[in-house]
Amino acid sequence: MADASASLATAERRAPRRWMLRKRPLVDGSRRGLEWASVAFVAGLLLNVDRIPIWTPIAALIFVAWRLMGASRGIKLPHTLFRSVLALGLVAGVLVRFHTLNGLSAGTALLVLMGGVKLLETRSQRDQFIVVGAAVFLLLAACLDRQGLVRAPLYLLHAWVCCAALAVVGYTPSASTAATRVPFDNRAAMVLAARSLAFSLPLALMLFVFFPRLPGAFWAIPRSDQASTGLSDTMSPGSISELTQSYEIAFRAHFEGKPPPPQERYWRGPVLHEFDGFTWKRTSRSLARMEPLQYLGPEYRYRIALEPSSQPWWFSLDTAMGSPSPRAFFTYDYQLVASEPVTETTNYSLVSHTSTRAMVALSDQSRRYDTRLPGDRNPKSRQLALQMRAREPSDSAYVAAVLNYFRTGGFEYTLTPPKLGYNSVDDFLFNTRLGFCGHYASAFVSMMRAAGVPARVVTGYLGGEWNPIGRYFVVRQSDAHSWAEVWLEGRGWLRIDPTAVVEPDRLNRGILDLLPNAVSAPARFVRSQPWLSALLQRWDAVNTWWDDRVVKFNYDDQLRLLERLGFSSPGAQQLGWAFGAGLIGWLLWIAWQVGRSSGSRARPDRLARAYVALCRKLDRVGLSREPHQGPLAFAGVVARERPDLDVVRSLLERYCSLRYGRPEPSAALRIREFEREVKRLSVASHAFR
């Protein structure tokens, strides 16, 4: 070995110095260690592959392949200077792509690239350990990104691969390895890693439950590179010719007690006030006062588990009372807005009523604001509104008349409406008469405003799919909806859904039942197979349980658990006690387990035990067998020192013939006899002469 590396070194010296590429033999790391470190690194890379720019894993994989080929086929590897330039170039690439090195995706991309470069220069055992460390780091990055139920087993698997890699890297085959009867091969490493992880599982569970969690974050990872999904804060129905429906989940709602009936399941999102004749926008009036309300009807208590959307909207069932968290507040029009975009699953509890009455009159300012229309657009619809209002005695009668107009005017519900022109409302009301919720809400509100009735557009979701296993509603992006609210004197803001007039089924059934072609083919297939839907519901329920109970497990849950375990007023101290007691118990258990498992001393057989017993008896009377003496030599010593102990000598001779003699069918019997006689033997400490 030494000679080979020495001759290699001289060969290297003799060859002209290469600036870029060189052969790099391993120093003290084994090739198997290199392979395992590569496997662990690639596994870590795969966990993160879907959220880093595609060129980064490709580059890293090229480095891995290059290094492995270098080890197996002697392909030349890059020189130090070349590697440094390469590393700098890659860092620059990440900077160009992300404009920062801070942040989860940029950090992960950087880690993947630098891990690859590190692998390229890996020669020693220490380098291999560092690459395995990078693989563990990639695991952390993956955890910080997603914690789904599907990914948890993958993470465990990766932890196992990393541990096995540690075992292989840590083992340097020695000269005597070939002679070992049980070689420490890949299989042995994997079994050992799996067993060690299994032993540590109880500790992990205990620490998970009892290790005190922090109530809040000290700092946050900037994650700005997520695509936004969900509702936007503008609505321009005229510009959309085909509404693509996403099957993604917007949020889940768990009700305490009875859930609201289908026609009341309006989930309130952005409220739109400003209309330029084509596009509805949110208000810029953030300082308007929130007027007190009288809540009517039954009270609904529920919890929302909001999926990330990169938007600040928190959804509530119609009108909610009180903000659920200091991180979110109500606007004056009862929309719940968070101070920061929702980037991770967010839970909050709310109490809502689906019907309210205003306690004070609408201020003049608000009335002006919510009856405003662009002066030069949609003249025909404004004229129609004025005519209709003149015919009706009151605002509420006018609302009913307009709804009736929608019902009987030949309007049709579709998700593929024609585009609308400059005067979008006129175009819709008098020409196309085809549209979805946005068209109806927009037209209705502008008819109301044209007649001087304060009105606004509310966007959000309608309905939701009941999951009978998890007992909650799943609200998807495809449940997005928009409706109207009008101000009626003596009543306040009243929810009116003009779409429901045109397509009454929309209330009771999801949009996907109405227009099955609205979603993508896979989602359509799922919906067409009841068993598949049932399966997916079950899956979703399990996932939700995982999210609620495992992923969202926090300090409060810890205290609640302690309370259930019998601590009267649990705090951090009790957590510490429980944690300490568990730790000590586990350490003792492990010490015992490891000692038992790997140390199973080969138990001597009956004959050997009897022989040991005999020797012990003789030892007590001062006849001790030296380690180098066999039974016959010992018998000679006994015969010389204690000629009276003839029986002992014959016993020793019998042992010898039993142990080394020709095997006989009656051997078992004779061994038992030997055992008995040894037991019966009593040796006097001094010979009587």
Binding site: L140, Y155, S174, F184, S200, L203, L207
Partner: protein
């Protein structure tokens, strides 16, 4: 400062453990364990994962951190267990020539069923050499021990260490069993051998070996002249063999220390060693005359050893005997 501290710790450990005799079972009381550098790095990584998991209230990251923490502690037990109960049953250091590394051959026994991997040993600060010790079996570690001068090299502090499995922890012990390695003087010198007794042919050239009676081949031993090696056989994949010849009849030589007085003691001894090695290789009978001792003419490996050992300890007899 650091060296002094290490010396004091070594003395403390020696005092605590006492002197050892072989066979020696590596018991709990004498095993020490600490994380390796890799282990410390891994600990740092775990700490980072913990902080990140706590800060972001990331349950999965925390769980995996705890799992790997537990794993680390389990590996500590495994490492300790890998060493605990192993036995050092033999330590042999065959004599060597000065300025040539000697070999300290250690034999470990494993009374348990499972293999103990990577039991390593070292003398001084040299990197440890490892061996796998199969269950119910033995493993041998051969350590190079430098032998700069003739005399006796005393290895009284042996470092037995393992980082297996996972390399996160290092379990080790110190063995204080005095192991002596005899170091013969280096065979060196160009003076011709003294003439034969009882033979009239006078001096013989060293290169001349063919005229004697052919005895056969024997395995190569340290100190054999390359000229006597059967290179043709070696080229045919045979082990290194040496051609042996016997000198005819009762020819013998006496190598006299005092006859080389002009050289200085060490050079004298080296010249004597040269003669002994060559004479033995040529199958001659030879005797050795030292100021304090006379070894009768004879031949054979034991005689060779006796003579060389006597040379090794010239002037050192009061401290140790060959």
């Amino acid at each position: 400062m650091r060296a002094a501290l290490r010396k004091r710790i070594a003395a403390m450990i020696r005092k605590r453990q006492g002197e050892d005799t072989l066979p020696l079972t590596l018991a709990r009381r004498r095993l020490y364990i600490l994380p390796t550098r890799t282990g410390l790095g891994f600990g740092l990584l775990l700490l980072l994962m913990l902080v990140a998991g706590l800060n972001y209230a990331n349950s999965l990251a925390l769980f995996l951190t705890f799992l790997l923490t537990g794993f680390t502690l389990v590996t500590m037990h495994h490492c300790h267990r890998n060493m605990l109960g192993a036995q050092l049953v033999g330590a042999i250091a065959p004599p060597t020539f000065a300025q040539r590394d000697g070999t300290l051959s250690l034999t470990f026994a494993n009374p348990d069923a499972g293999t103990r991997y990577q039991i390593a040993a070292a003398v001084g600060d040299a990197p440890p050499i490892s061996a796998d010790v199969p269950g119910q079996g033995f493993g041998r570690v051969e350590i190079a021990v430098p032998a700069p001068t003739r005399g006796i090299v005393l290895v009284d502090r042996l470092h037995v260490v393992t980082t297996h499995p996972f390399g996160l922890f290092r379990a080790w012990t110190w063995v204080h069993a005095p192991i002596e390695m005899l170091v013969y003087p280096r065979p060196h010198g160009t003076l011709p051998m003294p003439a034969h007794f009882g033979n009239k042919s006078g001096q013989r050239s060293l290169t001349h070996a063919g005229a004697d009676e052919w005895l056969g081949l024997r395995p190569f031993r340290d100190g054999d002249s390359p000229r006597q090696v059967d290179w043709k056989a070696y080229a045919r994949d045979a082990p290194l063999l040496v051609k042996e010849y016997s000198a005819a009849g009762a020819e013998m030589r006496i190598f006299d220390f005092s006859s080389l007085g002009a050289l200085g003691v060490e050079a004298q001894l080296e010249q004597l060693a040269r003669w002994i090695v060559d004479a033995e290789a040529q199958g001659e009978r030879y005797g050795l005359k030292l100021p304090s001792r006379f070894i009768k003419p004879d031949h054979g490996p034991e005689h060779r050893h006796q003579c060389l050992a006597a040379l090794a300890v010239v002037g050192l007899e009061e401290t140790a005997r060959g």
